[in-house]
Amino acid sequence: MADIAQKWGGTREASLAQTSLARLFDWKPFLVFLCLLPAIGLLVVFLTYPLGLGLWLAFTDTKIGRGGAFIGLDNFVSLWHDPIFWTAVGNTIFYTATATVGKFALGLWLALLLNHNIPFKSLIRAIVLVPWIVPTVLSAVAFWWIYDPQFSIISYILKDVMHLRSTNIDFLGTPWAARLSLIAANIWRGIPFVAISLLAGLQTISPSLYEAAMLDGATPWQRFRHITAPMLMPVLSVVLTFSVLFTFTDFQLVYAITRGGPINSTHLMATLAFQRGIPGGQLGEGAAIAVSMIPFLIAATLFSYFGLARRKWQQGETND
């Protein structure tokens, strides 16, 4: 009897503990806290804190392996008088502007082509995305080989096949040629993302709008100008924001193809920050360069997002 009583008691205690635990897990504030803990924890420790730490480092003279002291605006003052820094700023702005225009012009064209009724459409769409999914650095290495001064395939085709020029093109040897080569590689890499996202936007436009316009005798250009363009604006603004943001902070292509050369003329702000901060060991100065990107980034994001998203209410949709 005693045995049984003990057994009963034991299970009841266990089940009580179990229900109170279960109740705790059904208590909403606790559950919300528990569910958000891993994600918010990771983001606060490895994103928010470093963001603040980066701002602080920019005002110190920290070096790798040695803590630094607060030196006020010294890093920024020395950057202000640094011609390489200003070259990098100019390059970054030029690179972002040119590459974005190129990506969107060609990407929109490709999206419009893919929106036609064509055979093997899903296969072509799958192929088109390949440059975007393959590791950027690896395709950059392929571009580096394509831009080789001696064995470039482009030079070969222009010189020996088409006889358009008599010498090889020196893609990466002079500052402007190198800048344009990098931009071409960046556009190549960016077209798929823009095209596929805009294609998704195009497919949400109702065909009846085009039919109505055709019955009214609208030309293809008028159809594009007055139906496609305004209907595409909301998607376009989101894609543009992302594209500007990631082009402005690009690092991989430049690092893999030119490493900032020839003579520091193709550095972007990100690669210059890396060069000064990590191999150069001047963490404080590197952080100052990275921090100087933030105002540009905020301005570019606000401009591309609000500049275009404004169209949303002009179409009479609710602005949610």
């Binding site: 897990f25 059904d26 569910c35 958000l36 891993p38 990771l42 983001l43 490895f46 994103l47 804190y49 963001l51 980066g54 920290t62 392996g65 490709l110 082509l113 036609h116 009724n117 064509i118 459409k121 899903s122 072509i124 799958a126 192929i127 390949v130 999914i133 393959v134 590791p135 650095v137 690896l138 395709s139 290495v141 392929a142 571009f143 080989w145 394509i146 064995f151 070969y156 020996d160 596929i196 998704a200 497919q203 065909p207 039919e211 055709m214 019955l215 998607v235 943001l245 402005f248 902070t249 690092f251 991989q252 690092y255 890396f274 901060g277 990275a290 990107m293 933030i294 980034l297 994001t301």
Partner: protein, 299 residues
């Protein structure tokens, strides 16, 4: 997001425009097929070039006079052999795989819970938490890598794969959470209400009802996270210095180039084989990929 991810993303295109379109055959050839062919050729050419460089012997590689450079005349595996037996390449492949899988698992775990809390538990301020996580995605790694390097050194994680496994979630978690919130939205709340009435606890509901229904969303998030961690470069370049623990992209750029001598054959072989895993995964899940990409943008 929801519609695109559930149904196949094929549009009602075939009949569209066909009703009253005046596009004739030859004209369509010039305005559509020709430019499209150019796009496909330009977009794929670097990969073709990578592939044929991989299989070319050295005498062909640098002799355009006697051999047409656009084709391989006597293919060889010497470059692949050199890559696998004379460099740390196999080691890099394993390290990258390990880091990508671990970072993906960690991110999916954190994202599922966060997305479930934001979308389903309906607490006050859920929208603000969602917005904050979305904004985290807009913070680029180029700004974070210097302070993170200082942190990694201080935590004693420098040169350890753990440094990458812990930092990759900074860009994976926002992306996956965003994708999964959209996915959870598409699952009818009534199913959960039924389970609540039957006395299931919230965690049981998540495990037995919501997650099984969200499997396609989990696959999308998983392949995206895996590809993004496989492709990551700047953190891997900054936090790792020994050759054995480098990832494939970093290893190829830093270890295969010795001074001024570029072994183009081996470099291209490395780039080709390093792209292969993501390309294979992509080819299996291409529909998930396209629909979640387009869905994420539309959302």
């Amino acid at each position: 997001m929801t519609d695109a991810a559930l149904s196949t993303p094929e549009p009602p295109a075939p009949e569209r425009l066909g009703v009253i379109s005046w596009e004739s055959g030859p004209r369509k050839l010039v305005t559509v097929y020709l430019p499209l062919a150019c796009f496909v050729i330009v977009l794929l050419f670097p990969f073709y070039w990578m592939a044929i460089t991989t299989f070319k012997p050295n005498n062909e590689l640098y002799n355009y006079k006697d051999f047409n450079p656009l084709f391989v005349h006597s293919p060889t595996l010497a470059n692949v052999k050199k890559l696998f037996f004379e460099t740390d390449y196999p080691q890099w492949l394993w390290t990258t795989m390990l880091i990508a899988i671990a970072a993906t698992a960690l991110s999916i775990f954190a994202s599922v819970l966060a997305a479930y809390a934001i979308q389903r538990l309906r607490f006050r301020g859920a929208n603000w938490v969602g917005l904050a996580i979305y904004l985290a995605y807009l913070v680029p790694p180029s700004i974070l890598f210097i302070p993170l390097a200082a942190m990694v050194v201080k935590l004693g994680l420098f040169d350890s794969p753990l440094a990458l496994i812990l930092t990759y979630p900074t860009f994976l978690v926002p992306f996956c959470t965003w994708l999964l919130i959209g996915y959870f939205k598409s699952i009818p709340y009534e199913l959960e209400e039924c389970a609540l009435i039957d006395g299931a606890s919230r965690l049981q509901i998540l495990r037995k009802i919501t997650l099984p229904l969200a499997v396609p969303g989990l696959i999308s998030a998983g392949i995206f996270a895996f590809t993004l961690s496989w492709n990551e470069f700047i953190y891997a370049l900054t936090f790792i210095s020994s050759s054995e623990v480098k990832t494939v992209p970093v290893g190829i750029v830093t270890e295969l180039v010795e001074g001024d001598v570029y072994h183009w054959g081996a470099l291209m072989a490395g780039a080709l084989l390093g792209s292969l895993p993501v390309a294979v995964i992509y080819s299996f899940f291409v529909e998930y990929y396209v629909s979640s990409l387009t869905g994420a943008v539309k959302e």
